[in-house]
Structure formats: structure tokens, C-alpha cells
């Protein structure tokens, strides 16, 4: 799984929308799409322990990414289904397109760990994984070991990469960008929040996911490499060992599910990304016309 990368990619998408979509795609839809997969599945991955009894999945990685399990929450199939539902319900292009972009970013980023995602579900229930780092969620280790393993592997580089992408497009975090590009795409939602928050609070709300991403990256990395005193192979260490090799870290047993060869993953993910971009680009104008027609019909009905 990816950690702060999921927070940063929301702003990366926002900053790199095709020109015709800039200022017209909802930031909150991208945010919701990106967070949906883990909202639906993550709570049971670590589970909770009450009075010494653990409540949660018995095989976390199977639950999180597999089939049977909640692995379908990390598939483009679910993203497309929810997007279609949103479109049929609201006929809102800003939300439909934003949601699918956010969802796709999450599902495709997660092919990097050793478990991966079912990119071609429901046609194929094999997982697609690049095995860039080890998937480390487990009942014994819980969230702490998961964080330690992620921030000791190329997962850390993944987070830093997405942070660099956002920082390279730093204008996306400015007040000016928020006022002129983000708010006009979603005036209703921002107006609602504006009933409770002053402008500085609204701007903080917009930046809050980025803030959280930076803070969790710093906090978990610091804890894993400075504060923690793990015992690995019977030796107590100052911090978890950093291992920036492919499929690291070495000190963590790997978890995986039946999967396709890596070259199939690379080709499939590339094709899916290009197809998504092309389809959304092609549908953008017709969706705009359908939205206008829908609004006109509703206005006419209300005027009667």
C-alpha cells in the first residue's frame, strides 16, 4: 500500500488536469475518489483489539486486495461503477470525472506493493503487482510494523516522488489558485463550508490533505528510523534498517497473492492510464452538453 502518496496525488492530479478541464473538475471529487478504496477496506485490515480479543481480518492482505475479499474496492471496475452512479444521479461532470481520476490514481498507485491490485477485475481476479516494496500489513505487526516497513523501503521514495511532483507545481497550493481554479469548480461545497469557516479556514481545509501527507511522512519516518528500537534477528537496533532495494525491506516477510508477470503489469497499467485519459477527454464535451440539457430540463420543471 502507499501512504502519503495518496494524499499528494490528489494535488498532483489537480495541478496536471488537461487544459480544458482546469477549473472545471471538483477537488472534493478527486479527494473522495482517491480515498474511497481505503475508506471501504482499510478499517478491517488492522482491525481493533478489545480486552485482548482481536477483531479484524484473519488474512489482512487477502481482505484488503484479494478476491474473495474487499480487493474489488481497489479496482477500476468499482471506480467506473460509482462514477456511473454519480453521473446518473447528479449529471455533474465536475464530480464524475474528478471522482474517477482520484479513484484510478489510488488503484493504479497500489500496484507497486507486493500484493498489488486486481487491475482487470472482474474479468481476471489475479493481482497486478510491480513488487516495488513489500506489503507489510499484518495482524501481529499492525499499523506500526506496516509503517516501519513502508518507510524503510522504496515506499518512502514513492512518497517523496509524489511530494516532489506537488512541490514542482507549488501554485496548486496558493490562495490565488484556490480562489480562481478550485472554488469555481465546486462553488456549492465551498459555499457550504463557508457558512462555518472563515476564508483562512477554508484555505486550510483545501491544503489540509497535503499537510496531513507531509506530517505523516515526517512523523512515521522519524519514528521508524530514530525513535523505534526494534529487535530484528535477536539484535536490538536504533531504528528499522533502511532498504531501498526493489522488494525491500529485507527484514520483513513478504506477502503476496496469485499474480500476473511483471511485464503484463507494466503494459496493462500503461494501457489503462492511456485509455482512461483518452476516454475522459473524449467524453468531456458530450458530458458538458448532457449536464447543460439536464439543468435546463430541471429549471423548466421547477418553473412550471
Amino acid at each position: 500500500m502507499s501512504w502519503a502518496a495518496h494524499q499528494f496525488e490528489v494535488y498532483a492530479i489537480q495541478a496536471h488536469l488537461p487544459k480544458k478541464m482546469q477549473g472545471k473538475v471538483s477537488f472534493w471529487a478527486i479527494w473522495l475518489g482517491d480515498f474511497t478504496p481505503d475508506f471501504l477496506s482499510k478499517f478491517w485490515v488492522y482491525g481493533i483489539t478489545i480486552n485482548g480479543v482481536h477483531y479484524g481480518s484473519s488474512v489482512p492482505h487477502q481482505w484488503h486486495r484479494g478476491w474473495p475479499g474487499m480487493g474489488f474496492t481497489h479496482t477500476l471496475f468499482l471506480g467506473i461503477l460509482v462514477t456511473l452512479g454519480l453521473w446518473l444521479w447528479k449529471r455533474n461532470r465536475a464530480w464524475a470525472v474528478g471522482y474517477l481520476l482520484g479513484f484510478a490514481a489510488h488503484a493504479l498507485t497500489d500496484v507497486n506493493d507486493s500484493v498489488g491490485t486486481m487491475a482487470l477485475f472482474p474479468f481476471l481476479t489475479l493481482n497486478f503487482s510491480l513488487e516495488t516494496w513489500k506489503y507489510a500489513a499484518s495482524i501481529e505487526g499492525g499499523k506500526y510494523l506496516d509503517a516501519a516497513a513502508y518507510y524503510s523501503s522504496l515506499g518512502l521514495v514513492m512518497d517523496l516522488f509524489w511530494l516532489a511532483v506537488v512541490l514542482a507545481s507549488w501554485r496548486v497550493l496558493t490562495r490565488e489558485y484556490w480562489r480562481t481554479t478550485v472554488v469555481p469548480a465546486d462553488p456549492g461545497v465551498w459555499a457550504w463550508f463557508g457558512r462555518f469557516l472563515p476564508e483562512r479556514g477554508l484555505l486550510a481545509l483545501y491544503r489540509a490533505t497535503f499537510f496531513y501527507g507531509v506530517c505523516r511522512l515526517v512523523a512515521w519516518s522519524t519514528w521508524a528510523h530514530v525513535v523505534a528500537r526494534p529487535v530484528i534477528d535477536g539484535v536490538e537496533r536504533v531504528g528499522y534498517p533502511l532498504d531501498l532495494r526493489w522488494t525491500g525491506p529485507w527484514w520483513m516477510p513478504g506477502r503476496s497473492l496469485p499474480q500476473v508477470p511483471i511485464w503484463v503489469v507494466i503494459i496493462t497499467v500503461t494501457v489503462l492510464l492511456i485509455a482512461l485519459y483518452a476516454v475522459l477527454g473524449r467524453l468531456w464535451e458530450p458530458m458538458g452538453r448532457a449536464e447543460k440539457a439536464h439543468r435546463a430540463k430541471r429549471a423548466a420543471r421547477a418553473g412550471r
Binding site: R179, A191, G194, L197, R207, A208, C215, R216
Partner: protein, 70 residues
């Protein structure tokens, strides 16, 4: 989103922050959140993290203004 009501006040009549003051409150939120969450890791979640920033940036300057007025 209502248009800005003057340069200094927003749509709710709250004070807009200058660049340095804004940087101070964001830094205060980040430092306090990271330090506290190192020892209380349950704070590191999707809800508390974003809320922390919004609360510090929204309530912090208001509290300081109130104390200064006394």
C-alpha cells in the same frame, strides 16, 4: 464563494492573515502535530490530521486577537 469583503476581512468578517503570520500558524500546526503524534501515534489518521490544521489556522489567530484586545 462570496467575493472578498475588502482586503483585510473575509466573507464572515474574519481577519485575513498576512504571509508571515500564515506561515507561522501552518508551521505551528505542523510542528505540534508531528511532535505530539510521535508519542501518540493514534493522532496520525485521516480525520485528526486535516482537522488539526483547520483548527489551528482558524482558531489560533482568533484566540491571539482576543488575548491582545484584553
Amino acid at each position: 464563494m462570496p467575493a472578498g469583503i475588502g482586503e483585510q476581512r473575509d466573507h464572515r468578517g474574519s481577519r485575513r492573515l498576512g504571509g508571515a503570520e500564515q506561515a507561522f500558524w501552518y508551521a505551528a500546526a505542523a510542528v505540534s502535530y508531528v511532535i505530539l503524534s510521535l508519542w501518540h501515534k493514534w493522532l496520525l489518521n485521516w480525520f485528526v490530521g486535516p482537522l488539526w490544521l483547520v483548527v489551528v489556522v482558524t482558531a489560533g489567530p482568533s484566540l491571539v486577537d482576543r488575548v491582545r484586545r484584553r
